[in-house]
Symmetry: C2
DNA sequence: TATTTCTAAACTGTATTCAATTTTGGAGAG
DNA sequence: CTCTCCAAAATTGAATACAGTTTAGAAATA
């Protein structure tokens, strides 16, 4: 969220990036309290830049803060994921509407090419890789809005639901690319309502679906992705 | 954005609130560089909590940061305001759609009452007060979505455009309440499309309109709101 | 055994100090 | 007059020190 500087990587930025990755992937567990002294030592810095990084991540919703108790990893709550999905759907639908008006044929061809390149041999890709491709597709669409504030919000939403999307992708590995193609076709046809409907359907999740996937997410976090590897 | 704690007000929170108000209102001027030493002395704290507060405000988009140069007030750019308005319109339209489905009649009656109470004698109110009422109306609508993430994004957007809205309100003091009533009527009638259309019209601004109001905004910032009071 | 109390250790909040970097302003040259 | 260079002052980035608060675990009590 805070742009990377042109200058030598600062301590704050390095810490921010590192902890962000850990928070996104729930390698820091939901609700886990961060010990500043340990973390600073482990990351080779003092508490001063560490706290600066933690403040940024808190403002972005990846961590939470309690005065006197310190910083914590955000929880993994179905209701929160549901709300983020609803927000995401709202913005992605608005994006395809704007894309139908603003995207050039050349730009859309490039997205078509991207879908072709990433459409093959999906069975062998990890869900992380699939989500990565999925994100790139959506980022392309959002870029057609020429609205950097929308892109910024969506980026933050995506960071906060990324872990959840890895889980979700395992149950939908084959559908999403098909859906992407249909969405893109509707945009190319400048069929606003169809594109909006397809995107909304592509993204919307019911709360019970989310709850089920969150349960699976907890299993991954606490048992590891290789099975019952308790740690 | 970061919730106020139940505990004694911390130095960071106090500094955050104070600087936030200054940034929202452009009492810190667009692009102005913040001097940490001076500011810390002026606010009666050390640089450590000050920098923590500044990091939060930067992540929220009210300030900007350059490594080696420090923290700055965000600029007042028409394009950015335009994008924030577009984002706002997207979310407010989605909100009235959800409100048509979710809001109880009792809740809507309360908003009606609010509009009645705040509908009289608008000529004597400051544009700040009018924007305040305007915000309350919109917050009520957004609360009907039961989506705290949408509310959160809208809150941030509103903070970042608040100054602009004061300027804009001076040119529209009589229209907005009328528009609010129409929007509310459409919601009460559960007429989704009409409510959405009215809200969209209520919020959308063309870039040229925004540019003109931003110019006026600069005049206020640099000449003061009492006329040519150069400071 | 479970619960409560208490104390020391650990941690958080912040002030101070120090090192590195940027800015400012004066002097000199064209 | 403008531009460049340079040194000193000022500022930013971060480490360390200190004070206040919270936590963990042991001891006492029911």
């Amino acid at each position: 969220m805070i742009p990377t500087e042109d200058k030598p990587s600062s301590s704050v930025a390095r810490l921010y990036d590192h902890i962000k990755d850990q928070a996104i992937s729930f390698r820091i567990k939901p609700g886990e309290r961060l010990n500043e002294v340990d973390l600073a030592k482990k990351l080779g810095a003092s508490r001063t830049p560490l706290r600066e990084a933690l403040n940024r991540l808190t403002a972005e919703g990846l961590l939470t803060f309690e005065r006197g108790r310190g910083f914590f990893c955000r929880e993994l709550k179905p209701r929160e994921i549901f709300e983020l999905y609803q927000l995401r759907a709202t913005l992605e639908v608005a994006s395809v509407r704007l894309a139908c008006e603003s995207a050039t044929d050349k730009e859309l061809d490039e997205v078509k090419d991207f879908l072709l390149e990433t459409g093959t041999d999906r069975g062998s890709l990890s869900s992380e890789q699939l989500v990565e491709f999925d994100e790139i597709f959506h980022e392309r669409i959002v870029s057609f809005t020429r609205n950097s504030e929308m892109a910024r919000v969506l980026k933050n939403v995506n960071e906060r639901i990324k872990f959840f999307r890895w889980v979700d992708m395992d149950n939908r590995r084959n559908e999403t690319q098909h859906e992407h193609r249909n969405i893109l076709q509707a945009i190319c046809a400048r069929d606003v309502d169809k594109a909006a409907e397809l995107m909304n359907r592509h993204i919307t999740r019911r709360l019970d679906q989310i709850t089920a996937a969150v349960k699976e997410g907890y299993a991954r976090i606490y048992m590891g992705s290789e099975g019952l590897d308790l740690d």
